[in-house]
């Protein structure tokens, strides 16, 4: 009799555990992307997202503007690109332990300065050289951070069909 009671209690505990596990599974299965009733989380994009949002499109637009010799637009995109690097350096000061502001400085500071001169002087040849140097800096930094497979290049076409890059007379 005592044995039967113990067996019954053990069975009840097992059932309770299985029910709890089942409930957690159902909760987790609502959405793999999270709880719809949770408080909105602060938007905290990390390095890859910041590069895709703030750096790569601005690098592209700067190249397209320079290629079209649209100097006002090139100057604007250059300023935006510099601000993008500043935001990334502040948002992710260390990435995989490495000092992001120092890496950015080593990779792009000099070409950005040369680009600034080129845009102000409206000097296409210097722009092309400095832009090439900037692009090499991007790739050197990717190599340093073990992302050499992310290869940036001078854009050969516009991915922005809704934007005019030629100067407006």
């Amino acid at each position: 009799m005592r044995g039967a009671v113990i067996a019954g209690m053990v069975g009840a505990v097992i059932m309770a555990s299985l029910m709890v596990a089942g409930v957690s599974d159902r909760t987790a299965a609502q959405s793999p992307f999270g709880d719809p009733n949770a408080e909105p989380a602060p938007f905290n994009p990390q390095m890859a997202a910041l590069m895709s949002m703030l750096i790569q499109p601005r690098h592209t637009k700067l190249g397209l503007a320079g290629n079209a010799e649209n100097w006002p637009l090139a100057g604007y995109m250059l300023k935006e690109l510099k601000q993008g690097f500043a935001v990334v350096s502040k948002a992710v000061p260390r990435w995989k332990g490495l000092p992001v502001p120092d890496l950015v400085d080593a990779a792009v500071s000099q070409p950005l300065t040369l680009l600034d001169y080129a845009v102000k002087l409206k000097y296409r040849r210097q722009f092309d050289e400095a832009y090439e140097s900037l692009t090499k800096g991007c790739n050197a930094c990717h190599a340093t951070t073990d992302h050499a497979f992310v290869v940036i290049k001078v854009p050969d076409a516009s991915p922005f069909p809704d934007q005019e890059f030629a100067p407006q007379r």
Partner: protein, 138 residues
């Protein structure tokens, strides 16, 4: 009674095992124990890694400089700076005191002027020990 005790004992053993497994699985799930850590994260065993720039006296980075990172009585590692003028060396082991590790740099046409170690901003073992080696043209 003895004819019943054996099946009950057997049932008890099986039930106990099932209960133990169920609890273990539930606890692992509750604790988020599904293993999201980096597979190659062995920083705890290795000790801090070493990272830094080699620059010239103007502050420009120097690619392809030879960098030697040596631990006292243990030999050292020789590497070269990349296009960005940086070097990276993995940790020597937890038993090596980073204070016993010295960094030097060299490149033909230059001599080493100074090596400055940055004060560690954190005790996080994933953050490397940083040094900046300055070369002067000769």
């Amino acid at each position: 009674m003895s004819w019943m005790s054996s099946p009950i004992r057997h049932f008890g053993r099986v039930a106990g095992a099932v209960l133990a497994i169920t609890c273990a699985v539930s606890l692992a799930a509750w604790a988020g124990g599904a293993g999201f850590g980096d597979d190659d994260d062995n920083s705890e065993e290795e000790g801090p890694s070493y990272f830094g720039f080699v620059r010239d006296t103007s502050g420009a980075t120097v690619p392809d400089a030879k960098v030697t990172v040596g631990a006292k009585n243990r030999g050292g590692v020789v590497t070269r700076t990349d296009l960005l003028g940086t070097y990276k060396v993995p940790g020597f082991g937890k038993e090596v005191d980073p204070k016993d590790v010295e960094v030097s740099c060299d490149k033909p046409g230059y001599k080493q002027l100074r090596v400055v170690r940055r004060s560690s901003p954190s005790s996080d073992p994933k953050i490397p020990i940083e040094t900046e080696c300055t070369l002067q043209r000769i």
